[in-house]
């Protein structure tokens, strides 16, 4: 054996070990990255799922017109001034007659959500004949009580429970629970209400509608403009300086930080054109400028994938250049273009920073009804709730994130489906 062969043989073991190590690093990197993904999702879901349920308390409310301060056939003004809050307090006092001191009473009232009186108002306003009868109602409870019941804690042992509630309040909760007056139900409020300072009344409806309006504007603006731009650049543009400038520009715009688009929106649309602040229309314009490059780039790729023979055949039969595109190339490229559009819109749906700049961070209780109403969007709602000090908002935030992620998954799945189903390989 020659000298070199011995040397190589001797080093083989080490080299194979290095090979194994390298491979191991690769596997670790992938496993860690995917692990991060699962940790992230797990932490969100485990924090957020309780928000889809909330606790209700069953109370027999005696709709005494004297306590409410209304006549038996109340006018609507009387109804609005009626003392439903006092009635609920009275009902609670009757349920717990042993509570007498002022402080205790206050603590007792805290168990019921402030939303309860509005629910009571709605019930009575819908059917005034209920006045002076006794009705049995499921009313929303305060978020602390709700969290306590949902956590299935041992109520007979208050020391073991981590909560802001006092031991007395826990004892009352236990009494209510033992008499079957507490029930955990699906939280419909979360999907039907706007934002609120009270966690148990806060919902994502306003943000969802805001997102829908914003996305609608984004789609209506960015889709036609991006497709037109892609058609021009791919099919008609002469090879010259101007075209180069446009192309470089589009590629650069795709990498401009989103917050810079927010500055653009603030300076141009709000300060210069005086469009309304906080409105989905401005948000939609800003987001469509942001998603344009994404859609243009993917549309161009889709147009490029249509083979030239199609164009030549159409030209040969006497179609004008524009007819070639509108009758043949565009329909064939449409699945690819739509896929790119959906991905671009999914990006826009998750975008937050530029919308903060144009004032879509307002506290929105009312559900927006048009694109010029003040609104917020789902990611911004997440941002706002994440800042709230109440513990119950943590689960609300996570739940809102889960809803947001569901929408993103659906959109991306749709994009994948479109690609798989309609994509043609030439």
């Amino acid at each position: 054996m020659s000298d070199t062969t011995t040397k190589v043989r001797a080093s083989l073991k080490k080299r194979y070990a290095a090979e194994k190590r390298f491979r191991f690093y690769g596997i670790t990197a992938i496993a860690a990255s995917i692990g991060f993904l699962f940790i992230l999702l797990f932490s969100i879901v485990s924090k957020g799922y309780p928000a889809f349920q909330s606790t209700f308390v069953k109370l027999d409310v005696q709709l005494d017109s004297a306590t409410l301060g209304i006549s038996e056939t109340p006018t609507s003004a009387e109804m609005r001034a009626a003392n439903f809050g006092g009635l609920i307090k009275q009902t609670m006092r009757e349920r717990f007659p042993e509570v007498s001191s002022r402080g205790d009473k206050k603590a007792l009232y805290q168990l019921i959500s402030t939303g309860a009186e509005y629910q009571l108002y709605d019930e009575v306003a819908a059917d005034p004949s209920l006045i002076d009868t006794t009705i049995s109602l499921w009313l929303p409870t305060d978020d602390e009580l709700s969290a306590l019941i949902k956590s299935d804690a041992d109520l007979s042992n208050p020391d073991s429970i981590v909560t802001r509630m006092s031991d007395k309040q826990i004892a009352w909760a236990k009494s209510l629970k033992d008499s079957g007056q507490l029930e955990v139900r699906f939280n419909r409020t979360f999907f039907t209400n706007g934002d609120s300072r009270e966690p148990e009344l806060a919902g994502i409806r306003a943000a969802l509608m805001g997102s829908a309006f914003t996305l609608l504007i984004t789609f209506a603006l960015s889709f036609p403009i991006a497709v037109a731009a892609a058609i021009y650049l791919e099919e008609f543009a002469p090879q010259n300086r101007w075209t180069d400038v446009v192309e470089v520009n589009i590629n650069n715009l795709a990498a401009v930080p989103s917050i810079v688009f927010g500055l653009l929106g603030l300076a141009v649309f709000i300060n210069f054109f005086h469009l309304p602040r906080s409105a989905p229309v401005v948000g939609g314009i800003v987001l469509s400028l942001m998603t344009l490059p994404t859609i243009i780039i993917s549309s161009r790729a889709a147009l490029k994938a249509v083979p030239p023979s199609i164009r030549e055949a159409a030209r040969g039969l006497g179609a004008s250049p524009l007819q070639v595109v509108t009758h043949h190339v565009l329909p064939l490229a449409m699945p690819g273009i739509l896929t790119g559009t959906i991905i671009g819109l999914a990006q826009a749906l998750g975008e937050t920073a530029p919308l903060l700049m144009i004032g879509m961070v307002a506290f929105i209780v009312d559900i927006p009804a048009s694109v010029t109403d003040a609104a917020t969007v789902l990611p911004v709602q997440v941002f706002l709730w994440a800042d709230s000090p109440e513990r119950a908002f943590v689960e609300k935030t996570s739940a809102a994130i889960m809803v947001l992620l569901v929408f993103l998954v659906v959109m991306n799945a749709l994009a994948v489906f479109l690609r798989k189903k309609f994509e043609r390989r030439w």
Partner: protein
């Protein structure tokens, strides 16, 4: 008539003129012996009429709506009492806003103050006149355009060329929107920045080490002149971006190498989309994760080691940002690694190298320019990332390189300066635009360099 209704009416008119134009073209054709004798197809004639009907009207509506608020508010000047003017520009805006709200809610009759009532009445009149004028103008333009085009339906009118020219122009203008956007960004950021640099010297901005943008609310207030030294922000941004890259580059690069060189097809088909999911998660979700999960975990972990970790540490924000950027680095590196020609690998194997030796000594050096380009793009993304740092990094501008302490970044400051109450003339809000200019310039340079490097590299192996 509201703007939406007006748009709908215009569109209806356009549709009607399309149908009418086409049928008119058919009847003209009958005189000349069939459609074949016409220059263009009947639908081209219809399209021509529709475009001539809709375009002028649309242009009028859009232009009107863009400039109406500014014009109307300037007409209002004489109706605002002198006392409001003396109280400064802000109170004028407030007054105008107030009047606008009163008019919108149809509450003019309830106003007590006679001056205000007159102003509100005037605003309502102006708005009424304006909307009426718009309707008349837009509809007149639509009908005039359509009838002009209808007159031109003749056998030898080149309707197809006419239509195609308009469409071509539309396509070009859509492609130019990208340029307009860039121009808009540059101009809006630049103008406000220039106004800022008139108040604060550019030298102080770039080299100053003290950042506290609180300016005086009252003139005689003590100690709140505001200082705009942006160095702590730049350093904070760099620190967080650096931490992010320390996380993202090894994980991203090794994932890409494994997926491109070792993984079997099924493994690749599963792992690649999973990694892409990381890129699809909104940044606000990462911010929430960083602020509520990672930061407390780091803090308690630090406490067990006897380290004091800030609850808004640069480490938490940076690490989570790194996780977000992993798929970015990995997919860009994956592309360049797979672009390295197989013959280079074969040559290396032929000389007896193991797979990892081939990757380290042949593939990676060959792919290096592309990888560096990808990393530069990732850096530019880290610098411009906003939500994670807004939610997880601090607000106080500390000049420190310690990743366990709280630092602030350029993007955090832009957000905090521009959300909440705004006065557009204070140095405080203008500072946000100056920071935006810095951000734009730096990321643009990084992008241009990165795209150039990546393109050069691609050409090399094509």
């Amino acid at each position: 008539m509201s703007a939406t209704n007006l748009l709908l009416v215009t569109l209806g008119l356009a549709l009607a003129s399309f149908a009418y134009g086409r049928s008119r073209a058919y009847s003209v054709a009958r005189l000349h012996g069939g459609v074949r004798s016409m220059h263009s197809l009947p639908s081209h004639y219809g399209m021509m009429v529709a475009l001539w009907c809709a375009l002028p009207a649309l242009a009028i509506i859009v232009g009107w709506k863009l400039f109406e608020p500014a014009v109307v508010s300037s007409f209002l000047h004489d109706y605002i009492p002198q006392s409001v003017y003396e109280a400064g520009e802000k109170s004028v805006d407030l007054y105008k806003n107030d009047i606008g709200n009163l008019v919108d809610s149809h509450a003019i009759a309830d106003i007590q103050d006679p001056e205000k009532k007159a102003a509100a009445q005037q605003l309502a009149n102006l708005q009424h006149t304006s909307s009426l004028a718009l309707v008349v103008l837009a509809l007149a333009a639509a009908i005039a355009g359509a009838s002009l085009a209808l007159k031109r339906i003749k056998a030898n009118t080149r309707a197809r060329q006419n239509v195609e020219k308009i469409v071509h122009f539309f396509l070009i203008s859509c492609a130019s929107i990208a340029i307009l956007t860039t121009l808009g960004i540059v101009l809006s950021v630049l103008f406000e920045s220039i106004r800022f640099f008139q108040e604060v010297s550019i030298i102080e901005f770039i080299t100053g080490t003290k950042w506290s943008p609180q300016t005086a609310i009252r003139v005689d207030q003590v100690g709140s002149s505001g200082s705009f030294g942006a160095v702590p922000l730049f350093l904070g941004t760099m620190l967080i971006s650096f931490i992010a890259m320390v996380v993202a580059v090894p994980f991203g690069l090794m994932s890409a190498i494994y997926l491109a060189e070792y993984a079997s097809r099924p493994v690749r088909n599963i792992c690649k989309p999973l990694l892409e999911i990381l890129a699809g998660i909104p940044t606000v979700v990462y911010g929430f994760f960083a602020a509520l999960t990672v930061a407390p975990a780091l803090r308690s972990f630090g406490a067990t080691l006897g380290l004091s970790v800030s609850s808004e540490s640069a480490l938490a924000a940076g690490a989570v940002m790194g996780i977000m950027i992993i798929p970015f680095v990995s997919s860009l590196s994956d592309d360049v690694i797979t672009a390295v020609p197989q013959s280079m690998r074969d040559g290396s194997y032929g000389l007896g190298a193991t797979k990892s030796e081939t990757i380290r000594k042949v593939v990676i050096p060959a792919a290096l320019p592309g990888i560096v380009g990808g990393i530069l793009l990732a850096v530019s993304r880290a610098i411009g990332e906003t939500m994670i740092v807004v939610m997880a990094a601090g607000l106080a501008a500390n000049l420190t390189a310690n990743p366990l302490e709280a630092v602030t970044t350029v993007t955090v400051q832009i957000v905090t300066l521009l959300t909440g109450d705004q006065e557009f003339d204070s140095a405080k809000t203008l500072a946000a635009f100056a920071l935006g200019l810095m951000l734009f310039v730096v990321t643009l340079c990084l992008n241009v360099i990165a795209l150039h490097v990546v393109r050069k590299y691609r050409e090399q192996y094509e």
